[in-house]
């Protein structure tokens, strides 16, 4: 039983990471209908920037809270700028283009980001300095650390913050209007260019936070890490209903738990015929099942005919 609870805890933490990255995906998709393939790589850049800042500051012996703040701020700044630039240069000209064009551009941007990162940071796996001794906590027999709790809480907080922001603020209203119908929103006085740019910056900033959490938690950064992260986050976002902020977090947490339980129990359930190597198969099969019954994801709204 202890093991089971531990697996759930493992899954929730893993899922929180997915959720954080998925939030960025889903924000951009909500407004633009664009699968931003490059989002995982923006998260990667945030992670590497945070890592470098932490390395430099830790070597200088600066206090940990300062390091965290500086790393986070630097990551957010760099990612926001990159997000803004990418939007302006690569996506905006394609707003009226066929739907798949920005997809290809996103792939190109993804490659550009990866190899720019390789130029700056090289291609080795880089270790994050250990900033503090992990604070162990126990609940119902499951072991976890304070950091894990923070990541989970962060995912929920950011989600709540976003939901409130979108519902109650002016910009949030503008975002919802642009999402529903950009042309009409423009006619009603919403500066859609600004709104879209803002969304990208916000999504990228959240991606940066996700990147910071990834390096803090796993202690490792690599120029190619965005690919897997992006893929999982995309899966999570779709599972929850892409475009839906709550769905992103729900999808992320669910995906994490599914993966965790799959790794832990496929072997036992199938008598050893299949093992933890089929974890992703299991996760995708669950996704397919969910989508068969709810074609727009768990919390998705559009069950219409957007082709």
């Amino acid at each position: 039983m202890e093991i089971f609870v531990q697996q759930i805890v493992n899954g929730l933490v893993l899922g929180s990471i997915y959720a954080l990255v998925a939030l960025g995906y889903t924000m951009v998709y909500g407004i633009l209908g664009l699968i931003n393939f490059a989002h995982g790589d923006i998260t990667m850049i945030g992670a590497l920037v945070a890592l470098t800042v932490a390395q430099v500051m830790a070597a200088a012996g600066l206090p940990v809270p300062l390091i965290l703040a500086a790393a986070g701020a630097a990551a957010i700044l760099v990612c926001a700028v990159i997000g803004l630039t990418v939007e302006r240069v690569a996506y905006r000209p394609l707003r009226r283009a066929p739907r798949l064009a920005p997809l290809i551009t996103a792939i190109g941007v993804s490659i550009l980001l990866q190899y720019s990162a390789a130029l700056v940071w090289g291609k080795q796996y880089i270790a994050m300095p250990e900033l503090w001794v992990p604070h162990k906590l126990t609940l119902a027999g499951a072991q976890f650390t304070a950091l894990q709790l923070v990541i989970f809480a962060l995912a929920c907080l950011i989600m709540a913050g976003l939901i409130l922001f979108i519902r109650y603020s002016r910009m949030g209203r503008a975002m919802r209007a642009t999402e529903q119908n950009a042309e009409v929103a423009g006619l009603m006085g919403v500066n859609t260019h600004h709104v879209i740019a803002f969304t990208f910056v916000l999504g990228s900033a959240i991606g940066a936070v996700a990147g910071l959490m990834v390096v803090l938690y796993y202690g490792i950064g690599h120029y190619f890490m965005g690919f897997m992260l992006g893929l999982k986050a995309f899966t999570a976002a779709v599972l929850g209903g892409i475009g839906n902020v709550g769905g992103a977090v729900l999808g992320g947490l669910l995906l994490g738990v599914i993966e965790s339980l799959a790794s832990g129990y496929i072997g036992d359930l199938t008598g050893g015929v299949f093992g933890s190597n089929y974890r992703d198969v299991f996760a995708f099969l669950v996704l397919v099942l969910v989508l068969i019954f709810r074609p727009s994801g768990l919390l998705g709204r559009h069950s219409g005919d957007r082709a």
Partner: protein, 403 residues
Amino acid sequence: MKTAFLKPLLLSVAGSVLLWGCGKEPAPAPKPAAKPVQTVKIGSASPLTGPQAHIGIDIRNGVQLAIDDANAAAIEIGGKQLKLELVAEDDEANPTKATTVAQKLADAKVAAVVGHFNSGASIPASKIYSDAGIPQISPSSTNPKYTQQGFKTTFRVVAHDDQQGPTLARFAEKTLKVKTVAVIDDSTAYGQGLAEAFEKTVTAAGIKVVAREHTTDKDTDFKAILTRIKGKNPDLIMFGGIDPQAGPMIKQMKQLGIKAKYIGGDGMQTPNFIKLAGDAAEGAMASIPGLPKEQMPGGKAFLEKYKAKFNQDVELFAPMGYDAVMVFIDAMKRAQSTDPVKFLPEIGKTAYQGVIGPIAFDDKGDLKNGPITIYVVKEGKWEPLETVSPGAAAEQPPAPAAK
């Protein structure tokens, strides 16, 4: 958005791409030397982009270092001074790209190739090298089939799974004296091959494999499988895979409070493993074919030279890449010729003391069973623990390690 600038930009990109048609390698400037110089190209094929690029670049660096050392040594072959030139290509660890690269190297008439990294690349490429008569030494491919295709040109300077796996198993049985073990692999040809060889030997020795788990070479989160393993409470966890997974894995092991010992193969025996695992690395063990580098005549010098030249530690297979080039040169010396037709037969007769240890090949091109050293992490550094000779049963006490 004004797109006027795009056309000229696109044209200039297209223009420079079109220039490739005219782009042949610049001819090396003729050097007035006392002896006539013979330029010989050595090919290096490994992934320079993609998720395994850090390993591929490391291999290329090893080859480059060997070439530089050889050129500095002014070796004479057949009356001419040998000048080696590196032709490095990126195979992206992809089988099809590997064949393209192999053909390119064959077209460029390289005398020998150090490559490729993964068996999936080495195997299809080997046919092309064989057809062209170009000797190929792989620094890292472990699939047994690589040397079983009947080609005369395929060699490797890495112990393959059936050599390393059983050694690890016997160490676990005789030295660690464990009764239960959990085996994890990373679902790659290397990791799974090693894990399976280990599993087979361990099971035959009566040790119980209580859990058999799998991850991938892209994962960073192992909590789920480690939690499952924790439930089965093994004495030892064996991981077939490389350091980007091994490092975080042992960290997470300690986080979960798992007390089992941790052992892996040469993919884990790197300085980067210790960096990635931090304090958690303490007590981890890994095997590496060959005698401890610190004790090998050129070993320590190699590590330092590498660090000085490339500003980073050796990643994993650079020593193999280095030795591969040296083996080629050694064969050329014995044949007194840089023509592959002449020095290829000499490679099979190699008896060379490399950075990685004694190098000799069997009739298939595999490394003859050399010693394997088990290392342990002590106080943040890899220290040799035990050296196991080929034929296993005789275990030698560790040579006094330089402190």
